[in-house]
Symmetry: C2
Subunit: 413 residues, 2 copies
């Protein structure tokens, strides 16, 4: 199987200021094309570090991807170092220069001399066009036929280059052995509890299939990965194992692959032709944001009231002041009124409401930080739930959103 | 200077399913303690890969940090591999067992046999307690005095371990040479335009100070990094250079270090004792979410109306239907009404409103995807601005939020 390594170049990554989201994206795309990524390496904008990393990676892999260090500024040294490594020199490329001039003209920006330097390219490499930025990509081949591909570090420039030019070129030039992954996503159960339930099944997985547990806040993803020369057999055997898994933990599985709770909920709403509104206190609009991050959300999402203050709960959501006075703003009574009233006011089929103490301040002995009430309506049905979450504000906002969406999902089914 | 490398173990990272946010966090914390991180390496849950990575990193660095592969499930092999690498064996640790039993009891969960295995620990290492999870950390020392520290991959478990135990132990056992960073954050100007303005200053930076450009959507961070044996001299010289930078591009700098536009805006609102409300269409609650992600935001944030549909713009925000009919929902007239009316209705000093075509669908020839109007009120002043953004929904939502906050920031100053 073809092996790849991905090298990210940039001091900003090594000091922790920027997260390298390029490597996972590249890996995902190589994987689905049957190229296995063995290592990610991140190094400094330093000539010797780049040369060492190239030596090391070319001794282990067939293809090496490099991101970063191609910008127009002085701290970017990748291009010069690659020239030295492949014993070639920079020449002015007139075509690049005119593409650059056009790039700046079409954006109504003045091209400055620093950018002109980006038309200087190595003599011995295949250039990869960059339609959305100023630094082109470079495809080198060493004397053993191994490939080094250098791309900009700006994610959308790198991605466009990969999708438009590099992946098609790789497909044409490199053979593949199939690898398949299938992931189911669970919500509301911990890693070791799942492991106990599915232990027998896990032990009896066929040898060409591996299971991985991928926990993240509030959820655990279960990924089966298989590799087999017979692609049909591989597909069938992974599907069979996934079917067994569904029978073991049906109530916890809400989706597969990249499904998020909001996309699953949105799918059900669209299917049923239902509309939704939210009345949010502690989540401050985060549930609405997640629901509207989906293209086409205007077909089911009507709007929201974010009622951070009690006045707005009373004046805009008609929560009786007496209820707030007797039960507190964080109570089953208040979220019940919020959910019912936003549903009526915004004339929707479905609603979500929540109120809680997100923290870090504001807790009391009776209602500590992390105390949250959520309510969901579907037509004339109402369900409420109390959560006892953590001390961390961001985690509480996220988990309240996820529990609300999961409560709605279960009620809609 | 003490050199470190960070190894992340996990197939889920290498296939791109999970982003390694641990390495940047560890690097940030080592850096401020004068330890320079030379490389991040990500490898598979594979014994030989782990051994090779340890050999390689211990040949280059003084301290090696490992995250991941300590979970209770079968795909986690780091502990066994470290035992083999350091030629030691696993023994049952009674203290760990009782800590584990208490951990499960206090959470009202049943301990299962898979978790009991987590009380088996290497004979020859210093154990690092894990107060928020079930896998303890391990601190090994090799025959040359080099250190290997293994931690869980779950970010909040790793972070607590680092802050409570590992960093104090490192400070006690390892000497340091000062490294300092200072970063200013700019909004609304591109990387090469900044580079042109500050070119002379950049060229004349003293040799112990380096500049890095760190672009991300809508903004560019400029980071100065210096290293010098005389810490006072280092501080003074970095501060002097930052002062010069402020004089070169004052209008674009909105903050430093981790400042986000919303925290800067929140700071000004609190200082002036102003309250804010938002009326959001295309951002679907994202501006409110960013403003309420800050602890204590209830002191300035009153609430929002998210008016995705025209009905809600008309009924809840009193936008005259005739204006929508004649100018369209995405227009200066509509955001002006939204901003003024939410300010009046929610009785705040300040408001933000926006309406636009976030995409990917919904564009017309006259108003293509990416056409956005924003309006801001501060007391009786009103400012509007039209944006022509991209074709990407998520990018448009984020940029609309950032431009709105920056418009408000400038108006508040």
């Amino acid at each position: 199987m073809t092996k790849a390594e991905i090298i990210a170049i940039g001091d900003e990554i090594l000091i922790g200021q920027v997260i390298n989201s390029n490597a996972p994206w590249i890996a995902t795309n190589l994987n689905t094309n049957g190229i296995s990524v063995q290592r990610f390496i991140t190094i400094s904008d330093n000539k010797q570090a780049i040369i060492n990393a190239l030596d090391d990676s070319l001794s282990k892999a067939d293809v090496v991807f490099i991101t970063g260090g191609l910008g127009p500024t002085k701290d970017d040294i990748t291009k010069h170092t690659l020239c030295e490594y492949f014993d070639t020199s920079l020449i002015l490329n007139e075509e690049r220069l005119s593409i650059l001039k056009e790039y700046f003209e079409s954006r109504g920006r003045k091209m400055n001399p620093i950018n002109e330097d980006q038309a200087m390219v190595p003599r011995d490499c295949v250039l990869i066009n960059n339609e959305v930025g100023t630094a082109c990509g470079m495809w080198f081949q060493d004397k053993n036929g191994k490939i080094v591909i250098s791309m900009p570090g700006v994610p959308f420039e790198m991605k466009k280059m990969m999708l438009d030019a590099i992946i098609p070129k790789i497909k044409q030039e490199i053979l593949q052995t199939p690898i398949k992954h299938r992931t189911v996503r669970t919500f509301g159960i911990g890693e070791s509890d799942i492991a106990s339930i599915i232990e027998d099944w896990e032990t009896n997985l066929p040898s060409h299939i591996k299971l991985a547990y991928l926990p993240k806040i509030g959820m655990v993803r279960l990924r089966l990965s298989g590799s087999h020369i017979d692609e049909n057999f591989l597909d069938t055997s992974i599907d069979e194992e996934i079917d067994k898994l569904y029978q073991l933990i049906p109530e916890y599985i809400y989706g597969e692959e990249d499904d998020e709770l909001e996309t699953v909920v949105a799918g059900i709403l669209k299917e049923k032709n239902y509309t939704i509104a939210t009345a949010e206190s502690c989540t401050g609009g985060f549930i609405a944001h997640r629901l509207t991050s989906i293209p086409g959300s205007s077909s089911y999402f009507e709007g929201s009231v974010i009622s951070y203050s009690n006045e707005i709960k009373i004046n805009e959501l008609d929560v009786p002041a007496s209820i707030i006075a007797s039960h507190g703003a964080v109570s089953e009574e208040v979220v019940t009124a919020m959910a019912k009233n936003i549903q009526a006011k915004y004339n929707t089929d479905v609603s979500i409401a929540c109120s809680g103490i997100a923290g870090p301040g504001g807790g009391t002995e009776e209602k500590p930080v992390g105390t949250i009430w959520i309510a969901v309506t579907v037509k004339d049905r109402l369900i409420t739930k109390q959560l006892s979450l953590s001390k961390q504000r961001d985690k509480n906002i996220l988990l309240t959103c996820l529990y609300s969406l999961d409560l709605l999902r279960r009620e809609l089914l």
